[in-house]
């Protein structure tokens, strides 16, 4: 694993409690691989903690949301010439021990995206009833669009190669990007695979997903999925 080929990015917003430990854990797991924390205008000491732990920091001038932060990281990675980028959450839920597995899967599978999936082994124990319903619902919606099943469409533990980076650096969903990203890739005939990953409880901070936001999430993502399908149809007709 060379530092020139892989970059690990961590979008972070007010993650001072966990970000330092996450960065150190990544650096211990994959020594020599640069870690970039994209700070989405945190109001706490996220930037300081990330920098002290040895990460490079890309501080955004104002709060762009998860998609905007991830895309900023993808843009920088693409400009710096990285071939692979693995995105990992800043709250400690994603175990960095799976980074080498995702990286190897990216290199060996020729897929444009590799998803670290929580539900590959048949286990399906989402953190809440509503979240479980949402995941089941989007599995059903995505199945005919993607032409293959996806077990964990909401996982943010993903690796992408340079082809996907090129696409995402120009166009990326702003809010709740995980599911829409799959449709964007599929519409460009890109491929993805899932590999099993275990998730852990948050090390600190709190989730931004509340029951009301869960409903907004479902509506918003559903709209995004259909918009991306329509975009593709429009382009195909123009050809």
């Amino acid at each position: 694993m060379t530092s020139a080929s892989l970059l690990v990015i961590i979008p972070a917003f007010n993650e001072e409690a966990a970000i330092g430990a996450v960065v150190r854990e990544i650096r211990d797991t994959v020594p020599g691989v640069p870690v970039l924390v994209v700070d989405d205008c945190s109001t706490d000491a996220t930037i300081f903690m990330a920098g002290r732990a040895g990460a490079r920091v890309l501080p955004l001038p104002y709060h762009l949301g998860l998609g905007g932060a991830v895309q900023a990281g993808y843009r920088l990675a693409f400009e710096l010439g990285y071939n692979y980028v693995i995105r990992i959450d800043g709250d400690g839920q994603h175990d960095p021990r799976y980074i080498p597995k995702i990286y190897e899967a990216l290199r060996s599978s020729n897929c444009e995206m590799v998803i670290g999936s929580r539900f590959m082994d048949g286990d399906f124990e989402p953190s809440s009833f509503l979240r479980g319903m949402g995941i089941r619902f989007f599995r059903l919606v995505l199945r005919p669009i993607l032409g293959k099943p996806v077990r964990d469409p909401t996982s943010g533990y993903v690796g992408v190669n340079r082809s996907a980076l090129q696409v995402f650096s120009k166009s990326f969903p702003l809010e709740y990007p995980e599911i829409e990203t799959l449709v964007v890739l599929q519409r460009r005939a890109f491929r993805f695979i899932e590999i099993p990953c275990e998730m852990r409880p948050r090390m600190g901070g709190r989730s931004s997903i509340t029951p009301v936001r869960s409903l907004y999430y479902i509506f918003h993502v559903l709209m995004g999925v259909f918009v991306n399908v329509l975009k593709y149809e429009h382009r195909r007709r123009r050809k």
């Binding site: 490079r56 890309l58 501080p59 955004l60 001038p61 104002y62 762009l64 905007g68 895309q71 900023a72 843009r75 920088l76 400009e79 702003l174």
Partner: protein, 118 residues
């Protein structure tokens, strides 16, 4: 129904004045004021011109001309709001791209400074 027409006339006059004052004070750019002015002037003309309003009501199949005007006003303002949503969306995309570009340029500058120090 004359009361409703008078109210719509008053509304259109107030809207025209608000837009003109806002343009004068640079609170709204001239190109974005055009949609509102066009909608307000249309409302003013129709609310004061009974023959035109009667023709419009017959054309739309309404028995009541003021109700036809109300429907038209609603549609006009919906179009204006839709146009503004399109403009806001484009501005938001441009704004996000600018913010990301600024952050990336600052990152490059910071990296160059760090290299100079070492």
């Amino acid at each position: 129904m004359d009361g409703l027409l008078n109210f719509l006339t008053g509304l259109s006059v107030v809207l025209i004045l608000m837009v003109l004052v806002s343009v004068r004070r640079s609170h709204i750019r001239a190109e974005y004021s055009l949609s509102w002015l066009a909608a307000a002037v249309t409302l003013l003309i129709l609310s004061r011109s009974h023959p035109l309003l009667d023709w419009l009501a017959r054309f739309l199949g309404f028995a009541s001309p003021p109700m036809a005007l109300l429907l038209l006003v609603g549609c006009l303002f919906l179009l204006v709001l839709f146009r503004l949503s399109v403009i806001i969306s484009a501005l938001r995309d441009a704004n996000i791209a600018l913010a990301q570009r600024l952050a990336i340029l600052e990152y490059y500058v910071g990296s160059a400074h760090a290299e100079d120090k070492t």
